[in-house]
């Protein structure tokens, strides 16, 4: 079966999720990946959306984090202050799933402004949403983002959500309880933080991909892991389920970059 780079990316993200994990899900690719996992290898995956829906089981992909299906199929629906204060903040959630407008070599996320300065940016992005606290508090964070030199930069123009800031001990210094971005999954492969430096390095590549191309689509001198993983292509089952899910959505443009929703 043929497949697109986006499908390979979504399938790869879904594979990271294990059954019974609790997963704080943003809208867009994260939501597609999390629901794909739930319909394939992780039927008991606990999906949590910032709209306050805990353990929701949508049979169609929501367009927004507040679609009725999320409330109607949830184990529990709580207020927005409660979802952030009682459920996200204490570090109860295993995985936080984020998109980004820009991402840098230390996994810092920008979803606020690109280019110019804050007052007069070239591009005004939607802003923070739930991303800063998801990035801070989840036991680990997975970023899903199409790769280009414009989005994968040496330093983000604006730190909306903290990855590793500038190195290994920054998170501890800031009192951030989670382990930060442990995986960045792109349309070309998978990046993971170097255990020593926390710099993102290429650890996985898709079938037919070229390291040279990935480096050319990265805004810093991307290092490659000694044991680079060859990622398996999507299975027929994965593609069938994913396409069925995506078909449930209304026609739309791509989700806004960086939407932590």
């Amino acid at each position: 079966m043929t497949y697109t780079a986006d499908e390979m990316m979504t399938v790869t993200a879904a594979r990271v999720l294990r059954d019974r994990m609790t997963c704080f899900v943003g809208i867009g690719l994260p939501s597609e990946a999390a629901n794909l996992a739930r319909y394939t290898h992780a039927p008991n995956l606990v999906l949590i959306y910032e709209s306050g829906t805990i353990g929701t089981k949508p049979d169609a992909l929501p367009l927004s984090i507040g679609d009725g299906i999320l409330a109607q199929t949830a184990d529990s629906v709580v207020s927005v202050p409660e979802i952030f204060n009682y459920w996200l903040q204490p570090g109860r959630i295993d995985v936080g799933f984020l998109g980004a407008g820009q991402l840098d070599r230390f996994g810092n996320i920008n979803t606020t402004v690109i280019g110019g300065d804050y007052e007069n940016p070239k591009v005004r992005l939607p802003g923070a949403g739930g991303a800063p606290e998801i990035a801070a508090a989840c036991r680990e964070v997975i970023v899903v983002l199409r790769q280009s030199p414009r989005t994968f930069v040496d330093r983000v123009d604006f730190i909306t959500s903290v990855g590793f800031l500038d190195g290994p001990d920054a998170r501890a210094r800031l009192g951030l309880t989670g382990a930060g971005p442990q995986r960045v999954i792109t349309d070309l492969g998978v990046l993971r933080p170097d255990p020593a430096t926390c710099e993102l390095v290429l650890t996985g590549i898709y079938p037919g991909g070229s390291v040279a191309e990935i480096k050319s689509r990265t805004g810093w001198d991307l290092q490659v892991s000694a044991d680079l993983e060859q990622i398996q292509p999507p299975t027929e089952d994965e593609l069938t389920v994913l396409r069925r899910l995506v078909a449930t959505m209304p026609a739309r443009k791509p989700a806004p970059t960086g939407a932590a929703r």
Binding site: L63, G66, A71, Q72, S79, V80, L88, P132, T160
Partner: protein, 276 residues
Amino acid sequence: MAEIVSLAEAITANVHDGDIVAMEGFTHLIPHAAGHELIRQRRRDLTLVRMTPDVIYDQVIGAGCARKLIFSWAGNPGVGSLHRFRDAVENGWPVPLEIEEHSHAGMANRYLAGASGLPFAILRGYRGTDLATHTAGVADIVCPFTGETLTAVAAIRPDVAVIHAQQADRLGNVQYWGITGVQKEAVLAATRSIVTVEEVVDVLDPRPGAVVLPSWAVTHVALVPGGAHPSYALDYSVRDNDFYVAWDAISRDRAGFLAWIDEHVLAEDSPAGSVS
């Protein structure tokens, strides 16, 4: 005791030029009809507060009602940008828009502080981000017991909060269910409050997951069936996802936006029950 009045009367009585106005509803129960009434009554210089400005504030901002926006995520959910919001921020059209942006957790806690009668709330947030340095109402605070540094956010105290609910009874008690968002905090943080409802019933039939606001905690209730459209009211309507997608084209240029507002908002006379 909340008085049941028309939407036009409620907006006239509670929202004045220059007020701080919070219209809440987290994707669900967004009080769009009340937003249209603000536009019809040509309010000016409002400070708008809302976690997700969304299409409702894209319309109010594009119509020139606002001078400032306090928010945490400004996009058209699942679709793209808010073109009227960006045009106001980037080009000052139709009037300049000052912005103050936070994270969702920060905004939720600012409402929580307001609802609690406290000048601030604490959370684990903003640390290490560039948000704090570009945003008012955020400060470090040290735990007097552990010495740990956390973040304080200043309370939000709107002059008026506006929300949409499924039901009110004839005494003005309000009930809404489904995704309940931050509306209770917004109403309790505000000096005055307006609740538009799908239905006025004799007796509120208790619903699972429902929030009930006692009449004495609400200023005015207005009957506006469908008043959340294109958002929705669970068990009364479904989210009009196609409208959110269509809004991208409608709002992309100024002329198209103004034509839409003329036809769908201003052409309406201020309705008690009708929906724009």
